[in-house]
Every structure is written in structure tokens, then in C-alpha cells.
């Protein structure tokens, strides 16, 4: 696919918190990552406000397992409380994702050089991402590696369909929808032989408005275009 990358992300633990268990603070992970969690990982590999990262598909490689831990979360008022968090254990996912230009940002139109962005993305992936990767929650460190999507043996090969019920898909932010509000998207995913094909964010059947929000402003003054950067590197003595 155009502008696509394929990679594997893995880690010892993952916590894709089910929002229902978030209210009281006894977090329990969803059985599979949300779209937003994977999107965050793609954005950690390489991101610029010019781009929108779209996750097409993931493949769950390992059996879904859980492990609980006693945690001492910090309270706003100071001090600690006690809670049990339940993590996914020993996770490995293959991901196929691509980027599109964010058309809600005409102010960054000068930065839309598709080929260059794609190559930066691929190089960033090879280096293990530009920012550190985590699986759902900050304490669950993850690692990315390029791979061929669908290669290798997965636990759910030939397993059939698993219905995952109603899940959070992700959060809509104003700079990607053009609407000045924050929204939560929900959908009903199905996992077939370990593969989950994600609906595109705008195709999600349920959208719940949370609150008003304005996008952050970007322009030539606080974003450097790829072309400028390229010219600088070629022209300067850095290389």
C-alpha cells in the first residue's frame, strides 16, 4: 500500500485499559489493543502534524493472557492508594499502517512531500522509533521492528472468529476531524484467525461527544518543513 509500513511490536506487558474499569481505578486491560493505542505507537515511530496515521490491520501473534499486579497509584491529594491492575502478558502484534496528509491543516500544506515523509517513516522504524514505544500505558515498554505483515506462526492461526464485544476505537481530536470538540469512537471488532481489520476512524458507527476543544495552531514559524530540513542538511556541513 502507498505510504505504508509494516512492523512488529512486542513487550512483556500491555495495558489497554477498559474505560469501565478506569473510573474507580482498578484497571483491567482490553483483550486486544485499541486502534488509538496502535496509532500512538505509529506516531511514536514518526509523527508530524502534517500527517494522519491510519492503522489498517493488526495481527495478534501470542495467546491472550492476563496477569494482575498490586499497584500503588498516587492520589491527587498526596499519598498513595492500593489497586490491582490487570495487564496483558507477553504480547506481540504485527501492524500494517499508513499515513495520509491532514487536510484539516492547510497551514501545513507546504510540508506535504509524500515520498520524503514515507522514507523518513521507514528509516525511523528501522531505528526502533523516534520516541519510546509503550503498549497502552507508560509502564509497559514496547519495542518495534520492521517485519513482513502476516509472516510467521501466530497462536490464532486457523482459530476462527472471536467476537470482542463493544470496544473503544479511539478518540477524535479537533485537528483531525475539523470539529472543535473531543469525541470518543466505539465499534464492535471481530478477530479472525488473529487478524483485526480496523474500521477507519470516520467510519466508526458510534461517536460520543465529550467536551469542547480547539486544535493547536501550527505554521511555518513553529514547524520546519521537510524540504527546508533537507536543504539545510545537504547544504550544511552536518553530513
Amino acid at each position: 500500500m502507498r505510504n505504508a509500513i509494516e512492523f512488529e511490536v512486542y513487550g512483556n506487558y500491555a495495558l489497554f485499559t477498559d474505560p469501565l474499569t478506569k473510573l474507580g481505578g482498578e484497571k483491567l486491560s482490553y483483550q486486544v489493543p485499541t486502534y488509538q493505542a496502535i496509532k500512538g505507537i505509529v506516531e511514536s515511530i514518526y509523527w508530524k502534524p502534517t500527517l494522519i496515521m491510519i492503522v489498517d490491520e493488526i495481527r495478534v501473534m501470542n495467546a491472550i493472557r492476563m496477569e494482575s499486579k498490586g499497584i500503588r497509584p498516587i492520589e491527587y491529594g498526596g499519598g498513595n492508594t492500593l489497586a490491582n491492575y490487570t495487564y496483558l502478558k507477553d504480547v506481540r502484534y504485527q501492524v500494517r499502517a499508513h499515513f495520509e496528509f491532514n487536510l484539516n491543516r492547510p497551514d501545513l500544506a507546504h510540508d506535504r512531500n509524500e515520498h520524503k515523509h514515507h522514507n523518513i517513516l521507514k528509516r525511523s522504524l528501522k531505528a526502533g522509533g523516534r520516541r519510546d514505544i509503550f503498549l497502552g500505558a507508560r509502564e509497559c515498554q514496547g519495542y518495534v521492528e520492521p517485519c513482513e505483515f502476516g509472516s510467521g506462526d501466530g497462536f490464532y492461526d486457523g482459530y476462527g472468529e472471536i467476537h470482542l464485544g463493544n470496544m473503544v476505537h479511539g478518540i477524535n481530536y479537533p485537528d483531525e476531524t475539523g470539529r472543535d470538540q473531543m469525541e470518543v469512537r466505539l465499534w464492535i471488532p471481530k478477530m479472525k484467525d488473529g487478524y483485526i481489520k480496523f474500521d477507519r476512524p470516520e467510519d466508526c458507527p458510534q461517536v460520543r461527544v465529550i467536551s469542547e476543544m480547539k486544535p493547536k495552531h501550527f505554521d511555518e514559524n513553529n514547524v520546519e518543513s521537510v524540504d527546508d530540513l533537507f536543504a539545510q542538511m545537504e547544504g550544511g556541513e552536518a553530513l
Binding site: L23, E26, Q31, I64, R65, M66, N166, P205, Q206, S211
Partner: protein, 634 residues
């Protein structure tokens, strides 16, 4: 699928059991509650006639007190001084219009006002049944306590106030202690009253009447809050922020979903209010929680307040992964153990066992495994959740029961006799094998949770568990004989399972070809044990082999010298009877490679050698000699 959705679906597929009262092994009653209902212990039963006149009243015996009552969101979680009446049955302070005349400090009139208004709204709605109207017509007169005193249910002192606590001084008024004081924990004014209606024919009791449940549920549905997307089903339904407690037992305050935690870093940051983070519909919350409570009562296992629950969505009864093979199907494992110990035959028996469960595969064959516990009193967490295909589940269970199998003798059959069975041990027994019989319950529950993935996913058994069991099994002098035997057979099962994952499995049947050093050392120890035991005859003291087992496992060569030295007098005593055993010993010793016969400490395999060799010798004896003698020796 999410755990809440599965609980909700379990409720929906068991609708025919709603309100049906079942009893647990300890005679405690439980039921699948209808939504918007809860249970309370009532003390007084008041019957009114159809046209709203007082008919009769009685004090309810404690056995019969549990009553299914309608409730509102608010009343279900009322506490302290909050005025929030239940819709129909409630305490005297709410239901009696003349309460202030007989008790209290005079500020309680408001409670009744709230109650009667709420009941009136229901009675005048189109959802009401004639029973509700009859009760309302009687209660709005506000003469309940007066009637109850007349009926000699409640008792007043000389000032015409309700007696708070029974005292000898009231004997002048009432010669016998009234029954009401023996059912109540507090004063008379705290009595809970339930209402019934006397009808022409035999009618169902008000609290046992499906029509009444439906009437309240339908009426209450209209009073619910705003609609929102339900995160569980995805439908737009009236949502709630009050969720059930009392999940594990009646005194359990912990909630699975609590919504008032604004003081921690739980949802705050991106979201301002808990409602922003997630919403759940009233119906789903009620049904899922009711189904969960019912399932826990029905088939849950609670260890130190940690709940282990396994159920099928349609067919509730499925084999429990934490149980041993004997508990899942005693008959086949017993038969298999007697007849033969080849693994293939045994596997076939387990296959048959699982087929029994597989035969009733329904259209949606799903298994749920849920573990719950709370770290603090107020909140409860899901510690483990798996939702898997029933067929795969049974397959995994079969793998577990065939691969972690050994011959055990610690179970009793229905007649109370110890029986041998070949199979996998229960997770609880594994905990006792690894940590001792006095292991803290917290440790037991932790181990049970850690063992679950080993069983349902085929994950490797954590090495610390196997090691701990191994060290305990190598130290027989630290425990009683029966306990050591139990520890030994369970440890053998664990070690064999660990070896199996490395494709190094040893069967229970003795392998005379094997020249693994540890295995051979184990066999030597077994022969030494059997020889000395035979020489000891009726004496029950521990043999040298057993007493030196611990040091043997650490320094086999050196300790073997000690053991062999101390064997000599017994060999002499047995004379020619020892020839057979001595010959075996020589045979084993000859199998050693010279460089292997050293002091390097032994691995778990030596226990397998020990067990198999000892088993083999007793088998032989049983075949050759009198069976009684053999069992006496064992």
C-alpha cells in the same frame, strides 16, 4: 467478548430462572435477582385485604426472613441519614404514618411523606397491579403501628412508646418475652416490614410474584435518567453511575465499577468527570451484576475473598480448571489407575471424560474464566479474565490432565476410603505441596491465579513453584508420612510436566533402560528404602533412606555411602530374602557412567526415579505375595 457483556448475556439466557430460589450446599438461599430488585431480611409481615383494610400480621421466623424487594438506584445504595425509601417494603420509619406518635424524636415524619408519595405515584400509574393499590390504600391511612400494637406484634410501655429493648421491668405488662425481640437485633422501631395481600384464591406472595416484579421494572424504566451510549452493548439506553456492591457476600462493600473516584489519577487528565470516561446503561449494569452474584453463589470458589469463577455462557456447568482429575470424573481415573499405567490408555480415559462435556456443545460454545479480588474495601478488580472457545478449552484441559499426571493416593472416595487415582492435582493442592499445609491463604490464592494460564493456555509452570515443591518433597522428615506422600506425588506430577515441555518425559512405569544419572540415583534410594522397610517389619519408624533424603539430594555420592553402610545389618537380617533387592541395586549401580557417580546435587528427575522404582517394587510384591502385606507396608 468483554466480561460485562458475557455476564449480561448469561443473564439474558437464564431469564427463566429469575426469582427462582436455589440453595447452596450450606443451606443458604440465593437467587438470580430481577433488575431493580434486591433482597432484605424482613421481620414483620403485614397482610392487607383487597380493598385496603388491615387483615392480619405476624412476626417472621429468621429462616423465612429473606425477602425479594423492589428498589430504586438511590435506595439500593442509601446509607446514614439519607432519606431514600424502598418502593414497597421498608422499615417502620418509612412505612408507618404514625411512627412519630410511638417512637423516634419527632423528625421522622418526612420519611413517611417521601415513601407514601413514591408508592402513590407507582400505585396511580398505569403499570400498577391491584396488589400495589391495595397496599397503598391501606398505608396512606397511616395507622400501621396502631394496628400492629392491637394485633400484639409490637409492644408499648406505659407511656405508649415502643419498647426499645426488652427488660425484666416490662414483665408486669407482658408476662412473656414477645417474639419480636428475638428476631430483631436493634429496637422495635428498626423492624423491616413486608406486605402481602389476601386474595380470593390462593395467590402468590407479593415478594414472590413475577407480575409484581414486572410492574415495578416497567414503571421504574420510565423514571430513569438520560440516554447515552452504553460502552458494553453499544446501544443508546438510560445510563447510571450507581453500581452494585455486595458482590461476593452480603457484607461486601467492594464495587467492580465505582464512579466517584475523583481524587486519584484514574481518568482525570483527558477527562473531567467520570461520566466523560465511560458510560454504562442501567439495565446492563443491573443484569450483569446480578448474574455475577448468582454465578458466584452457584459455582464460584472463594479463597481469602478472591473469587475464582468459571462458567459457560449457555451451559453453565463446565469442568473447573483448578480441580484435580479425580474431582472432574472420579470413575475413569480410578479404573485407569488400577488397570494400567500406560499413558496412552490413560489419555483415552481423559478423552472420554472431556467428550462428556463436549457432547453438549451449544450454538455459542464459550467459556469464561474470571478471577476477582479487592485491594481495598471499596473497590474490586478483575484479576484475570479469559473468554475462550469451549472446544479449545476442553482440549487444553485434556492436555493438562494428561501431561501433569501422576499416581496420587490422597483422595477419598464417597465411602471415605483413600483411593489411588492417576491424574493431575488440583491447584490448591499444588499450593500446599509447594508452600506447606499451613500456607497463608494469600499465597494459596496467588498461586492459584498463576497456575490458571498454565492450565488454560499450556504455559510453562513457574519454576519457583516446581523448585519449592521439589525441596519440600526432598525433606520427608519435616512432615508426617501422609503429607509427604502427597507432596511427593504432586511434585512428581509437576516435574514430569516440566520435563514434558522439554520432550524429556518420564512415565510412571519404571524405565529400566534410562541411564540418566538423577533417575538412577532416585532408583537406588527407592530400593534402599524398600529393603529397609521390609526388614523393619511392623516397626513404623522412618528408614535411613528417607531420613537422609534431603542430604542425598544434595550430595548423592557421599550420602549413598552412609545409606549403604547403614543398610548392611538389614540385609543381613533379611538374608536370602534381600537377594532380589540387592540384585536390583547392583543392576542400577552398574548402569552409572563412572564420571556420573559424583556429588553434584540432584535435579527433580531423581524423585521420578524414586517414585517409579518404589511403585514398581510394590507392584511386584502385590503380584507375587499376599496383597494385604503390600498395602500394610505402603
Amino acid at each position: 467478548m468483554s466480561w460485562l457483556l458475557n455476564l449480561y448475556e448469561t443473564y439474558e439466557s437464564n431469564l427463566d430462572l429469575v426469582g427462582e430460589i436455589e440453595t447452596r450446599a450450606n443451606d443458604q438461599e440465593f437467587t438470580l435477582l430481577p433488575i431493580s430488585h434486591t433482597t432484605q431480611n424482613a421481620h414483620i409481615e403485614v397482610t392487607v385485604s383487597e380493598n385496603g383494610e388491615f387483615h392480619s400480621a405476624s412476626v417472621i421466623d429468621k429462616k423465612d426472613a429473606s425477602t425479594l424487594i423492589p428498589c430504586t438506584e438511590k435506595s439500593a445504595s442509601r446509607a446514614g441519614k439519607v432519606i431514600s425509601p424502598y418502593p414497597l417494603h421498608d422499615k417502620l420509619v418509612y412505612v408507618a404514618g404514625d411512627f412519630t406518635a410511638y417512637a423516634g424524636s419527632g423528625n421522622e415524619a418526612e420519611s413517611f411523606a417521601h415513601y407514601i408519595k413514591q408508592l402513590g405515584d407507582w400505585a396511580n400509574s398505569s403499570y400498577a397491579t391491584w396488589k400495589v393499590r391495595s397496599i397503598y390504600n391501606y398505608l396512606k391511612k397511616g395507622c400501621l403501628i396502631q394496628d400492629l400494637i392491637k394485633e400484639r406484634i409490637l409492644f408499648v410501655d406505659t407511656d405508649k412508646r415502643l419498647i426499645e429493648k426488652w427488660d425484666k421491668k416490662y414483665e408486669s405488662l407482658y408476662p412473656e418475652k414477645p417474639f419480636i425481640f428475638s428476631v430483631l437485633a436493634g429496637g422495635q422501631e428498626s423492624a423491616f416490614v413486608r406486605f402481602n395481600v389476601r386474595a380470593r384464591d390462593i395467590e402468590k406472595d407479593v415478594w414472590d410474584d413475577q407480575e409484581m416484579y414486572k410492574s415495578w421494572i416497567d414503571y421504574y424504566q420510565n423514571l430513569l435518567g438520560d440516554e447515552d451510549i452504553c460502552f458494553v452493548t453499544g446501544n443508546r439506553q438510560p445510563s447510571t453511575d450507581k453500581h452494585a456492591n455486595k458482590i461476593r457476600n452480603a457484607a461486601d462493600k467492594a464495587k467492580l465499577i465505582s464512579a466517584n473516584d475523583s481524587s486519584g489519577f484514574t481518568y482525570r487528565g483527558r477527562f473531567n468527570a467520570s461520566h466523560d470516561a465511560a458510560s454504562i446503561s442501567y439495565e446492563v449494569s443491573q443484569k450483569a451484576h446480578n448474574a455475577l452474584k448468582w454465578l458466584i453463589n452457584r459455582q464460584g470458589k472463594i479463597i481469602d475473598l478472591r473469587v475464582f469463577l468459571i462458567w459457560g455462557n449457555d451451559d453453565l456447568n463446565v469442568p473447573d480448571p483448578t480441580e484435580d482429575t479425580f474431582a472432574i470424573g472420579p470413575a475413569p481415573t480410578e479404573v485407569a489407575a488400577k488397570r494400567s499405567f500406560t499413558n496412552r490408555e490413560y489419555a483415552q480415559e481423559v478423552y472420554k471424560l472431556m467428550d462428556g462435556y463436549k457432547s453438549n456443545l451449544s450454538s455459542k460454545p464459550k467459556i469464561n474464566i474470571l478471577v476477582l479480588d479487592s485491594a481495598t474495601t471499596g473497590r474490586m478488580a478483575v484479576l484475570y479474565y479469559r473468554n475462550m472457545d469451549k472446544e479449545i478449552y476442553l482440549e487444553k484441559l485434556k492436555d493438562w490432565h494428561t501431561s501433569c499426571a501422576w499416581l496420587h493416593r490422597y483422595r477419598k472416595n464417597r465411602e471415605g476410603d483413600f483411593v489411588q487415582f492417576y491424574g493431575a492435582p488440583a491447584t490448591k493442592d499444588i499450593a500446599f505441596a509447594a508452600y506447606g499445609p499451613r500456607a497463608n491463604e494469600k499465597i494459596v490464592k496467588g498461586l492459584m491465579e498463576r497456575m490458571l494460564p498454565c492450565i488454560v493456555d499450556g504455559a510453562n509452570i513457574p519454576q519457583d513453584i516446581v523448585k519449592s515443591a521439589f525441596h519440600r518433597a526432598s525433606n520427608p522428615v519435616s512432615m508426617e508420612k501422609w503429607e509427604w506422600e502427597k507432596t511427593l506425588s504432586i511434585t512428581c506430577a509437576l516435574i514430569n510436566k516440566t520435563l514434558k515441555t522439554r520432550k524429556e518425559e518420564f512415565g510412571l512405569a519404571l524405565n529400566t533402560e534410562n541411564d540418566d544419572r538423577d533417575y538412577l540415583f532416585g532408583r537406588l534410594l527407592a530400593v534402599a528404602d524398600v529393603l529397609e522397610r521390609r526388614a523393619l517389619g511392623d516397626e513404623t519408624r522412618a528408614t535411613n533412606a528417607i531420613r537422609y533424603m534431603n542430604s542425598f539430594s544434595m550430595h548423592p555420592e557421599r550420602t549413598w555411602m552412609t545409606i549403604q553402610r547403614s543398610l548392611q545389618p538389614y540385609q543381613a537380617r533379611l538374608g536370602t530374602k534381600a537377594t532380589y533387592l540387592t540384585k536390583i541395586m547392583d543392576e542400577i549401580a552398574s548402569k552409572f557412567k563412572v564420571e556420573d557417580f559424583n556429588n553434584r546435587s540432584l535435579s527433580g528427575k531423581y524423585l521420578l526415579g524414586f517414585y517409579s522404582q518404589r511403585h514398581e517394587l510394590y507392584q511386584k510384591k502385590e503380584n507375587n505375595n499376599d496383597a494385604n502385606e503390600a498395602s500394610g507396608e505402603e
